[in-house]
């Protein structure tokens, strides 16, 4: 967790530095609030980083951390794989949505996800039908919301 915290602080600091430089180019009234907020956020990030570095330098805390790390259950390989699968699914969903639009992609994703996770046909068909009815009948037909049709069909 400490490593991830450190990495997040660094990413935040770089992001804030870029935002600060960008903000300096804005008119005075438009930059007043953002400059205050970015500066304060930068101070907090630096404070967090310094606290973390001081804690790391203390030999005792290092020992404690090591002991804690040894005791703490490490996420298994299976868990990590699930994590990457989840993000891959979301990425694939967004791509599919962009290409074929809501009416096709939503029921398709529901069906594919349920089937690849070894659920039965019954659940897969019921869920896909409900999703199709929700998207097409409720949103597109009843509410007349102009749903995105996808890059391939536009």
């Amino acid at each position: 967790m400490k490593k991830k915290d450190f990495l997040f602080y660094i990413i935040l600091f770089i992001g804030l530095a870029v935002a600060f430089i960008t903000t300096l180019g804005y008119p005075p009234r438009a930059r007043l609030f953002p400059i205050i907020v970015i500066s304060l956020c930068g101070i907090f990030v630096l404070w967090g980083l310094v606290k973390m570095l001081i804690a790391r330098n203390k030999a005792s805390s290092l020992k404690e951390n090591r002991q804690k790390d040894e005791k703490a259950p490490k996420p298994g390989e299976g868990h990590q794989r699930q994590f990457f699968f989840a993000f891959a699914w979301i990425g694939a969903f967004v791509l599919l949505l962009w290409l074929v639009g809501f009416v096709i992609s939503l029921p398709l994703v529901v069906f594919a996800y349920i089937k690849t996770h070894e659920e039965g046909w019954r659940w897969a068909i019921i869920s896909t039908t409900i999703m199709f009815l929700l998207v097409y009948v409720v949103f597109a037909m009843l509410l007349k919301i102009p749903l995105y049709e996808g890059l391939l069909f536009q």
Binding site: M1, K4, D5, F8, L12, A19, T22, T23, Y26, P27, R29, A30, F33, P34, V37, I38, L40, C41, F44, V45, W47, G48, K51, H79, Q82, F83, F85, A86, F87, W89, I90, F93, V94, L97, W98, F102, L106, V109, V110, Y113, I114, H117, E119, W123, S127, I130, M131, L134, V135, V138, F139, L143, K144, I145, P146, L147, Y148
Partner: protein, 495 residues
Amino acid sequence: MIDSIIQGVGVLFQPMMMLGMFLSVVAGLVFGVLPGLTSATFMAILIPFTWGLDPFLALMVLVGGYAVCTTGGGITAILINVPGTGPSAATLLDGFPLTQQGKAGRALGAMLVASGMGGIEGTIVLAFLIPIVIPIVMAFGSPECFFLIVMGLSFIAALGEGSKIKGGISALLGLLVAFVGYHPGTAFARYTFGNVFFFDGIKIIPCALAMFAVPEMINLMISGSAIVKEGTVSRAPVADMWEGAKDVFRHWWLHIRCVVLGVFLGIVPGVGGDVACWMAYGHAKTTSKHPETFGQGNIEGVIAPESATNGKEGGAMLPTLALGIPGSSAMAILLGAFLIIGIQPGPTFLVEHLDLAWTIVGTLVFANLLGIVICWFTVPMLVKITRVRGHILAPFILCITALGAYSYRNSLGDVFVMFALALLGWTMRQLGYSRPVFFLGYVLGGLAEQYFGISVMAHGWKFFLTPLSLVIIALTIVSISIQPLMEYFKRGKSS
């Protein structure tokens, strides 16, 4: 006066009117449940159907559905962590943990009663305030609005948990996200990277879904288990719902305070329900005997925002009816509907159409009652969703969040923004940053900057010297310092 009340409320009991109200309440609840579809969308879609109708029936249909939209929004917030409307985002902070503990019925019961009663009580306050509303609304200029927003921001300290540094960073990141888009004073586009889509800023529904719904869905995908873990003992939903309803009466004083807060914030044009729910949540946490349990399934965390959010609806009607000033986008659409029907809201409205004003008051009361009854019988079936396996539920939530983000303003860009922000939301969740604090910063940041700019332009740098501003500043200082002071005195006594 009495004649107007009898005539205005009596209209509600005509069979055609009752049927119209029933259908509009059902439609309003459905709109509330579906994420992305707000009360403003409800009104916008329904207005064409009201053309040619009797003015009383047309207004009843619009106001009836509008009154229960937020009630519907709380249902999905509690059951699957997907806020149906913007203000429901505060309800899920404690509503969803209660669901995970197998107490979805209790949370839903408390939500329904707090929201329904909040709506009714807010309307009663509206009825009493009708004669004196004009001086109240006129007393609130931009400096007073700015300090009200600052008061809301002061609750960041109360909402934050764990590390103060992470709490501070969360709030400031939320504020930064609020700055994306046109600067209200100069019309200068900020942080848009030249992309026209960002000129209008990042909208509340994609942001709420990204911070709360998508990270939860990712965890469902990873774990594959149901929302309620196997082996969790839970009571029958209906019995649990009664328990939740009783909770509102156990915490009646909190409920009343939050309704008053909601009505008050509703009256002030431009502050709105998104602020009311968070201020009520912060207030509940600062005054609770168990603030440490907030965020882990404290029923007070459900009662407070729901009371304020629906209580606000009555208050929000006041400036619209009495001054012709819409306090929110939904009220702006209602104002349009008034004009289409041929009624001019404003100071003369209450003189010329007092019977219609009483019809609106009656509709708000009866629609809320009807909303509670309908939900009471339908919600227990929905509780079963929480026992559905994660592998079946997760893709559903994924699709519903995408639909919700899109249908807010029919933009695919909002779906992309939601997933991009969800990455930040999930990281914040994993690393122990406070997402409620981020969201509060986001909701209030843009408003604070807007009112600050107008105040300085209109009144100069001494804008804070108006009497009402000084009162709000004093109240803010009291609300911030009351809890540390009480703790200090308690420690002093015990030592």
